[in-house]
Each structure stands twice: as structure tokens, then as C-alpha cells.
């Protein structure tokens, strides 16, 4: 029966899909399937690319894009020579590099910990709990940060118990980066470990059994079996995060900003929002945004190139 069908198929399918036109005739409807998605990205992802040119013009909504005067790199020069430039770049780089240094290895360590946990039930509970913060909205999460770090918050109640004093976490502008990064680690650690856990479960148990027979300790098994197994995943994620090196999450930085910490918490994306949306300086803020996105993209391409040549792992 099966064989008969196969033969029939071989006989009927071939002439049907003769040449490109035949195939198109048969599958044209697939393009209708993709059409809504293409329309969406055409309008909301690609049309804005066309609008980037206002970074090189003095855009006035009345005159339209083409009617506005062309000014070349004027806005870029203004930005690079403005007094905020170095502060913005420094804050953005400090926060993102710090986030990367803490946020990249910790999920790996956590995945290894979970993987070596003996009690399966405990592992399930721990996963359930640690994935949860990922689903809390940024607004609520930032609200919780403020509540817990407030002068009457839980941290200060504990600190007060031991020292009798209280620490002004929120008022300490230099502490902004620590709050930003470590709360982020807490929020993402569990969920970001999933991908590594799935890589670890793909490791053949026989490898571990052989290692045990050879007398390898668990630390040696981690070093020689588990780490090599998750390396490709880790490299891909590392490439992707370096591409985000200037794209510190807008929402969280914006919501955690207070006048008192602005010197250290103002980053490129929040500045773009304030200049562009609040003050309606469209061209200037488009130029800043373009600078940001270009640098990110170039970094991503370079890192990906290095990775594909040295480790043979590439994003595309």
C-alpha cells in the first residue's frame, strides 16, 4: 500500500511541479500566507528606515521629509560636541557592559546548579519560582525595587536590625548601575537558564557514566562534559548580547530614573525619548538614535565575523 502510494506520488508530483512556473502556480497561495507579516514589517520596520533620512535634514512636519532642508551631518556634530555626549555614552556603556558581565555567566552557572540538583521535585519548584519574575511587567518590577529599597523597605529593616542605621539606596546616584544590573540578573536568571538546561539535557548520559567509571569528580564532569556541550549556545547568546551593547532596555532605565540619579541613569535611549517625543526635536533625536543603532549593528557584525572565523559559529 505504502509502496504503491510512493510510486504513484513519484509519478504524479513530478509533472505537476514542472519548472518554476508550475511550482509557482501550485504554491502561490503561500505568498498570501506571508503577506500580513510582510505588510507589518514593511510598515513598522522598513518604512521607518526610509524616515532615517530626517537625521540629515532639518525636519519640519509642515514641509514633509523631502521639503525639509538637507543639513548633512549637522545633528551628529551637535551631538558629538554636546556636553551630554560623553556622559550618555559612558552611562550606556557602563550599564550594558556591567549587565553583560553579570547577566551572561550567571544563568549558565544556575543551569549547571539545577542540573546537578539531586531532588527532582526541588528542581521543579526552583524553576517555577525563578522563572516567575520574567513575566512580571517592567513597571511592576521597578515598583517593587522602589518599595524594597525604600528607607522603610525590607532591606533597610534588615540593615537597621543589625546596624541601627538605614541606607539611602535610591538617593545614591552612583548605586544606580548596581540596582539596575542586579535586579536584572534576578529577573532574568531563571528564564535565561532554560536554554542552557535544554542544552545540558541533550548531553548523552553515557558520557557521564563513562566519566564516573573513570573516576571523574563532578567538577571535572562539568569542566569536560557540560561546558563543552553548552558552549555553542553560549557563544550565540554572547554574540547577540554584544549586538545589544548600546541598547540598554529603555523601559527599566526610564522607570528607575529620578532627578537625583539622572547624572548616572540617563542613557542614550532615554535621552532620545526626551529630546524626540517630549521636546519634539525630531531630526536631532533621530540622528542620536541612528548613531546608536549603527554602532550596535557594526559591533554585532564584527563580533559575528570573529566568531565565525575562530569558533565557526555564526548568527547568519
Amino acid at each position: 500500500m505504502v509502496i504503491e502510494q510512493r510510486n504513484q506520488r513519484a509519478a504524479t508530483v513530478k509533472p505537476k511541479s514542472k519548472g518554476l512556473t508550475g511550482q509557482l502556480k501550485r504554491t502561490w497561495v503561500l505568498y498570501l500566507f506571508v503577506l500580513p507579516a510582510l505588510l507589518y514589517i514593511a510598515i513598522f520596520n522598513y518604512a521607518p528606515l526610509y524616515g532615517i533620512q530626517i537625521a540629515f535634514r532639518d525636519y519640519k512636519p509642515m514641509d514633509g521629509i523631502w521639503g525639509s532642508a538637507f543639513v548633512g551631518f549637522k545633528h551628529f556634530k551637535t551631538f558629538f560636541t554636546s556636553y551630554q555626549f560623553w556622559d550618555l555614552l559612558r552611562n550606556t556603556l557602563v550599564i550594558s557592559t556591567y549587565s553583560l558581565l553579570a547577566g551572561f555567566p550567571i544563568p549558565i552557572v544556575f543551569a549547571l546548579l539545577l542540573n546537578y540538583l539531586k531532588s527532582g521535585r526541588f528542581r521543579k519548584v526552583s524553576q517555577m519560582v525563578t522563572y516567575a519574575p520574567h513575566f512580571i511587567s517592567t513597571v511592576v518590577f521597578c515598583g517593587m525595587i522602589f518599595i524594597f529599597l525604600a528607607n522603610d523597605g525590607i532591606f533597610n529593616q534588615v540593615i537597621g536590625l543589625f546596624t541601627g542605621r538605614s541606607v539611602d539606596f535610591i538617593g545614591n546616584a552612583k548605586g544606580f548601575k548596581h540596582i539596575y544590573v542586579w535586579s536584572g540578573v534576578m529577573q532574568g536568571m531563571g528564564f535565561n537558564s532554560i536554554i542552557y538546561i535544554s542544552a545540558l539535557t541533550a548531553v548523552s548520559p553515557e558520557l557521564h557514566e563513562a566519566a564516573i567509571v573513570d573516576g571523574a569528580t563532578k567538577l571535572q564532569r562539568i569542566r569536560h562534559i557540560d561546558l563543552p556541550a553548552i558552549l555553542p549556545t553560549a557563544i550565540i547568546l554572547l554574540i547577540m548580547s554584544t549586538g545589544q551593547i548600546l541598547n540598554v532596555g529603555f523601559e527599566k532605565a526610564f522607570l528607575l530614573q529620578k532627578p537625583i540619579n539622572l547624572q548616572y541613569s540617563e542613557i542614550i535611549s532615554t535621552y532620545v525619548y526626551k529630546i524626540g517625543i517630549t521636546k519634539a526635536q525630531y531630526s536631532y533625536s533621530t540622528a542620536i538614535g541612528l548613531f546608536n543603532n549603527l554602532v550596535s549593528f557594526i559591533v554585532l557584525v564584527i563580533v559575528n565575523k570573529i566568531s565565525s572565523q575562530t569558533a565557526k559559529i555564526s548568527l547568519w
Binding site: G51, G120, M128, T130
Partner: protein, 305 residues
């Protein structure tokens, strides 16, 4: 698990170093789990407790002097109701729209007989790595007269290349080419094949996609901030910012009674705890059931990033 079984099967006793290792692993995981679970738990008990006892640090393990005064204020606040209804609407419609866009596209792009699917994928994936930026996007939305409409909060976020990849990867590995070829021979059209074979086979993926999009819509703050100024259209997250971040705890609820105002200031924190619970409720309720789907989604997506 398999490792532990393996070692006992071979009858090799664990070394002392390994036992120390196990203890350290257990302690670390317990500490991490506790430090995430406790703050969440604390919010819950604090929202039900007497504000004075919470402020003086007496509510630690169980709610004390249980009161729902915070919740009473919350449900009387018109902002919460408006935000809740708006966000509910945006989430439901936005998710339906997102599924209608993503699922067919994911299926089409998974078919090897679709000409040019490689190029189309590249066009899609490029959007993950480069964007026009805030202002050009804003001007497009403005040009379409979508600023200050409900439509913009439904449409935006209704497609993501990342979700498309997950979807496509699933179909590539779960719809056997033989089934499709057999359908071709029987003269089953592609749309009919899609609706009567592919959709029923991919309920799990559709659930994952729905959850991803629904959570993103529910938690969305950015699009509301940028594109909506009218109070009546604002999503919940914007009102939450008022209450949780800016500290405007229910000052809009029209009362001039000074005693009541004073009382409200006293329980401002309780209100904040309650607001956190109320706003996260839909996710809290479904979370235990949907958690495994999220995990599944990450795993499918990780096969090919």
C-alpha cells in the same frame, strides 16, 4: 537525575568532594530560590495586612491583622478599572491579530517548495538587528493617524521575527513532508491542508505563540507611553507607573475629606502592594499552567536562533 542513577547503577561510591559539591549545590539553589520567592510572597502577605504592622517590620511570615482596605481603595479607583479594561481589550484583540499574522507566515516559510523563502526570512530577521529608531517609527504611526487610537496598541507588537522563527522551526520539524505530499496527490489545496491538518497538529505551538504575545501585550508600557496621551485609552501599565513609580497613590479618587486623605496616605504602601497583585493577577493565576509552554517555546526557538 540520569547522572545520579548512573552512579548508583555502577555501584561506585561518591567521593567526599562530590558529596561536598552536592551540599553546596543544594544550598546555593535554595538561597537563590528563596531570595526570589520571598519578595514575591512578601508582597502578597503585605497587601492583606495592617499597614502599620508592615511598616514596623512585624509582617514577616504570615499576614497580620488581615484587612482588605487596600483592595477596597483600588477597586474604587477609576484609573485601575479603565486601565484593566483597556489592557484586556488590547491583549485579546492584539493576540488574535498576532496569531493571524504569525501562524500562516510561519507555516508558509517552513515549506521547502516555497520559492524565495530564504530571502523573505532574511528580510524578516534583519528587523531583529537593525531598526529605524524611535522617531522615524513614531512619525510613521503619526502619519497613519494612529496616534491616540486604540488600534495602535492592538497592532503594534502583533508580529515579531523571533516568534516567527519559533513557529517556522516547529513546522519544519513537526509536519512530515510525506503528509504534505500525500495531500498534494489527493488534490488537497494548500489552504485546506493548512486549516484541516496543520492547525490541529500545531495546537501546542499556537498556545505558545498566544502566550508570548498575550504576556507582551499585557505588560506593554512603551507603546502606551509613546503613542497614547488620552487617559481613556491608556493601558494598565501607564496607570501603574502613576501609582507605583510616581507615587500618585489614588489621589484622583475624588475625595476632599481630609481625614480620608490622611488615612489614604497611611495605607499608600498597602495600596501599592495590592496594585501589584491585582495587575499581575491574570499572569499569576495562569502561570503554573502555562509555565511549561513558555519553556517549550524557548527550547523550540533555541534549535535554530
Amino acid at each position: 537525575m540520569t547522572h545520579a542513577k548512573g552512579s548508583s547503577r555502577h555501584g561506585i561510591r561518591e567521593t567526599k568532594a562530590d558529596r561536598v559539591f552536592d551540599v553546596i549545590v543544594t544550598i546555593l539553589v535554595a538561597l537563590i530560590t528563596f531570595s526570589i520567592a520571598y519578595p514575591l510572597y512578601f508582597i502578597v502577605i503585605a497587601s492583606f495586612s495592617n499597614p502599620d504592622l508592615v511598616a514596623s517590620g512585624q509582617v514577616i511570615l504570615i499576614p497580620k491583622d488581615i484587612s482588605i482596605s487596600g483592595y477596597t481603595y483600588i477597586f474604587r479607583d477609576p484609573r485601575i478599572m479603565t486601565g484593566y479594561l483597556n489592557t484586556f481589550l488590547y491583549t485579546v484583540l492584539g493576540t488574535v491579530l498576532a496569531l493571524c499574522i504569525t501562524i500562516p507566515a510561519g507555516y508558509a516559510l517552513s515549506r521547502r517548495d516555497m520559492l524565495g523563502r530564504g530571502i523573505i526570512m532574511k528580510i524578516m530577521v534583519f528587523t531583529m538587528y537593525f531598526s529605524g529608531g524611535l522617531i522615524p517609527s513614531y512619525l510613521i504611526v503619526k502619519g497613519l493617524n494612529l496616534v491616540d487610537t486604540r488600534l495602535v496598541l492592538i497592532i503594534l507588537g502583533s508580529f515579531s521575527a523571533y516568534n516567527l522563527i519559533i513557529c517556522k522551526t516547529f513546522y519544519e520539524s513537526n509536519i512530515p513532508i510525506e503528509v504534505q505530499e500525500a495531500a498534494d496527490i489527493d488534490g488537497c489545496s494548500i489552504p485546506r491542508f493548512f486549516f484541516s491538518i496543520v492547525i490541529p497538529l500545531s495546537k501546542a505551538t499556537i498556545a505558545i505563540m498566544a502566550l508570548y504575545y498575550a504576556v507582551a501585550h499585557w505588560n506593554d508600557f512603551f507603546n502606551g507611553l509613546i503613542y497614547v496621551n488620552k487617559q481613556a485609552l491608556m493601558p494598565l501599565q501607564l496607570f501603574l507607573r502613576d501609582i507605583l513609580i510616581s507615587g500618585h497613590t489614588l489621589t484622583n479618587s475624588n475625595t476632599a475629606d481630609p481625614e480620608q486623605l490622611l488615612n489614604m496616605q497611611r495605607i499608600a504602601r498597602t495600596i501599592q502592594y495590592g496594585v501589584i497583585i491585582v495587575s499581575s493577577l491574570p499572569i499569576l493565576v495562569f502561570y503554573p499552567f502555562i509555565q511549561k509552554y513558555f519553556v517549550k517555546g524557548v527550547m523550540v526557538g533555541s534549535i535554530k536562533g
